[in-house]
Symmetry: D2
Subunit: 350 residues, 4 copies
């Protein structure tokens, strides 16, 4: 299948390219970048040196629609809405990695993005691209709205606890730790290495936009509206997210019950591993272990004394949190093995 | 004043030495280490090369009592109880950096440390060495029990919110991020650089022993018993703790009210800075900014949508979280300027 | 082909496992570890969770010879010599990642390892497993001595300059920078994260054992004996080596001549990329770009003013510097595509 | 003494401020920044929160000359030349941290900076601000040209070997490793944390401008012209430089001779420590140990086999490599204890 990557010079776009240039069912025919047009892709993404001779081209709707069957939008929020409707119109499939089609409730766009969404029909049609919750819809979709990175981790960490009915839905805290690649590739004073190295910096202590997605999806799982008290922190890693969900429980919950909740939800998921060991150094999820991979490691701990479950999920924000999940959706849409092009382990020590 | 440092080869002991060798009112006469007896102190603490010619000596009670007026115990938990009673008996002052005298309720030693405390009289007498809460008692103390590092940060972050009566005391979450020096200097597989670098590793997701201190001190501030839902994470820094307190509030709270709560508690504290700016890159506490210093930076954010206050505190775990706080107590006990030997800024970028 | 990995619990052994469990022509039937016998492999190598259910077994010569066709020795230096002769005797192939068969001159074992080599016949037979220099011999070998990690980088950086006859062979400086995984997985005070993070630590400023290999191989390329002035430094990365060769030249050399020298040597090599760009951020080799991969990126710069060529090579010490190179040799011995199981790109940003 | 800091918003300027706000003989009356005029200094340099209420002001020559007795120029190269002559004219002293007055030979400005120096008189008058070589001249100077950071480390590492006459002056290699703060505070793609973290990036493999200073100063020590083959590498630290000098020797040199050479040069220097231990983890200089301090740790190793001395120097590029050295010169000019305001140790582990 011929694919295009729009916004291919950023970290997420580069990661989509990395996964697609070796993907047996995809042929990347277009990688757009306004700023780096006519430059070799490997000049920006040095890992691809020798793997592709592709050059960036300026985004051109006509060229894209002529050349591609499917388009990955790795654009900043607000850009996809300008292209996607036209791409769909001429029959292309769109896998959007931006936020432009993630929220079902148009009111939420006003609240979180200060933006009146112009295409409620597409908003209704778009499928939230989290295979673990929406696999069947993804199969039939022509427009996928890939989840935000911290949303992916937070939803996957908490969904089993919420679904099992254990959670006090009024007191859910989500404390996220994220690496510097999550800030995007554009340099600014806050991402300067000297300033960014060694931080544990509160970033979006309240009002993180991904709250909206988490609430939408966990609310659907719970069958009622809910809010999450989310705070994000920048830590000194390049890739990776650990989402720590602190959930007060409505009653005492046993380890067995929790194992059952996680297993019943993820037991046959190709990219979710339940990590809850009794020994060893790697007893609970840690993003270090999944760097570069499409795995989401989930795990939990019971805090009986306080009446709390601590639920963890670790992902690589650029893979399972973005490009890998997009390719996973692509595979599902194509009807091929979901693991195609994603079936490799991480490295250790990373 | 002649001082001894017991357990001087570890990270905490080294930090006590660093602060004392330049302290105008202290003369370090003994630095003990069983393992490194007869070795120069700078061999273990290379920063002290040229600053002291001291050598480690084996711990010897007689020698210590003869030579010292005041002793800093930088020993592992369980060791101080063996020495401290005898040191006090012969009239020395003891500043204990271990956990052996921190908890007022003897039952708590059984629960958290699996240990029957043998000296309830000293437990009753010992002063919890957090100057911001116990300055007056410290002045008159002969035995100081210095707080645990994560406890220092968590208590200072949350005390103003609790004291002001804003907090729903049944749903307090404390999410801690800590550097590798917090694990002590003894090497083990989990602290190997290759394994430890780049982690966001859940460590003590439930049942962290410092919970006991936090509950003791915040309970005293609140005037009732309370529990905290605490989880700690290891992150890729050497020094530093960020404690993020997620506090659901019992009613809407304004920024002004919170400023007032923090100011009334810390307005004249020499080592607490309230960091809550509206602009710039350093709007909230970050341990990177306080590395090497005795500062505790505190700050907060209101999450109106959810009805929550997020309270932050950043410290250097080895300074304000251990050796610096001990020296601050020492200064208070001596009746000299509390900032003596601690009055310097951090470096930026660190 | 049925393979065994001896010494499988260390970093190198784990990396061999990572590459072999997904290798289409290899079936790992044995992974030995005395210390972790009966433990799941993924308990030590958490990246392999879900990828293999293999358990460690104690090393047992009989079991190994019965079960395996080929054995990877990921053992400490001095251990391979105890097993390898017996394995060869019963017809197995051995790919040795240790130093036990690398040096052709037995005198060198006395000098560098303080050790009289007991099997000069095998020393003579063993093939130095650097495909770029010894591919034809590897094809026919039954015993491969894989190069040391810093040797791999240093030889590949310098061989073209030496071969072309540009180098003043009496003044070759090799300045190596290496990550913490190079120290092996056993914890010790020098690898503690708090102590190891942030270092630029001179390590083996003179007398690095890999000097012997570099001199052996570059000497063979030069057609005369030579010495290299090698110094190694530990830097704050987990994986990776940059070898910087400072070569005074016997005459002025042009960029074109050097390009020709590197191209003629590496132009058709599957795992050597010549990185010498005129623009962009990635103009010369950097280990960051090859982390996790089997690539060796080489490049050079001419310092006309001084009469010097600076030659660079960047590798992942655990892959092209150890396990990946071993698998590359394995592929060559098997007569299959050399890239089998190794044909993937790195990630960016890593 | 009333001092001004011109270019005070950058890393170097901030470091000058850090050292001066606590300096007993200096009163900072002006800190200029065009970009951040009217902003609190602590907004850019968060370590100074609570230590000063100073605000940035736009650079204004009249105001500076009226308010200050001495000015620190922490400006980009090419800016000092515009201000300094006028400041000197009205009787101020100038301590210039830029390159504008470092090179005695005007030809060198053309070669290295592409720039015709307009004030040969001031070039002749300016004193190269390396106290270890020019203390007496500094005492009498009104214009100090502070050395470049890599020059400071490289000169101090090599001067004793050169002075003692051991060095083959035609084959001196200087291999420098430097942290990210050396790139200045302006953000750009190459300093983005995600891109910069984990690198061992060849940077200025040939033609580093500091070569000119090193050659000027070592040439003066040697008593003849010489060239150094210098290459610099960016490594993953924020602060710090390790300069590794590889010096082929003209004859066999003993450890005792080298000790003597270093001791005779640095034995009474307050900020140079000779680090060459036979045991322990800290046997040779490492910038980690001097972070935040004005120390330059130097050390050496003899490589008898090759006929080489490896000479090391470790500094904090922002302190002994810039602001600290400037303050040291300031103290010397003032005739006060050279250690004033600089007399503290580093932290360990940093």
């Amino acid at each position: 299948m011929k694919v295009g990557v729009i916004g291919a010079s950023g970290f997420t776009g580069g990661e989509v390219l990395r996964l697609l240039v070796k993907h047996p069912e995809a042929e990347v025919v277009i990688a757009t970048s306004r700023e780096y047009a006519d430059e070799y892709v490997f000049r920006l993404h040095p890992n691809l040196r020798g793997a592709t001779d592709l050059k960036f081209t300026p985004p051109d709707l006509k060229r894209i629609t002529e050349a591609c069957d499917c388009v990955f939008m790795a654009t900043p929020h607000g850009a996809s809405i300008k292209y996607t409707p036209q791409l769909l119109e001429v029959g292309l499939k769109v896998i959007d990695l931006s936020a432009d089609f993630r929220l079902k409730n148009p009111e939420m766009y006003k609240y979180w993005y200060g933006w009146e969404h112009p295409r409620l029909d597409l908003l209704a049609e778009a499928v939230y691209g989290l295979p673990e919750l929406h696999r069947e819809e993804i199969k039939r979709a022509r427009l996928i709205a890939c989840p935000g990175c911290t949303a992916t981790a937070s939803i996957l960490a908490l969904a089993p606890v919420v679904k099992a009915g254990f959670a006090d839905l009024d007191h859910i805290v989500v404390d996220v730790k994220i690496g510097s690649s999550g800030a995007g590739s554009a340099p600014n004073p806050s991402t300067h290495h000297a300033v960014r190295a060694g931080v544990v910096r509160p970033y979006a202590p309240a009002g993180h936009r991904h709250s909206a997605e988490i609430e939408q999806e966990l609310g659907a799982v719970a069958g009622r509206e809910l809010k999450v008290a989310m705070s994000a922190h920048a830590v000194d890693i390049v890739r990776g997210i650990l989402s720590t969900g602190h959930v007060f429980t409505i009653r005492g919950v046993s380890t067995g019950e929790l194992w059952k909740a996680y297993r019943s939800m993820y037991g046959s998921e190709p990219f979710v591993r339940i990590v809850k060991d009794k020994k060893g150094l790697y007893r609970l999820p840690d993003p270090k272990v999944v760097v570069g991979t499409n795995y989401c490691d989930v795990g939990f701990e019971i805090d009986e004394r306080v009446g709390r479950v601590v639920a963890f999920a670790a992902i690589d924000n650029l893979v399972k949190g973005a490009a890998g999940q997009a390719v996973q959706c692509f595979n599902i849409m194509l009807g091929i093995d979901e693991r195609t092009g994603l079936d490799y382990t991480g490295i250790h020590p990373a």
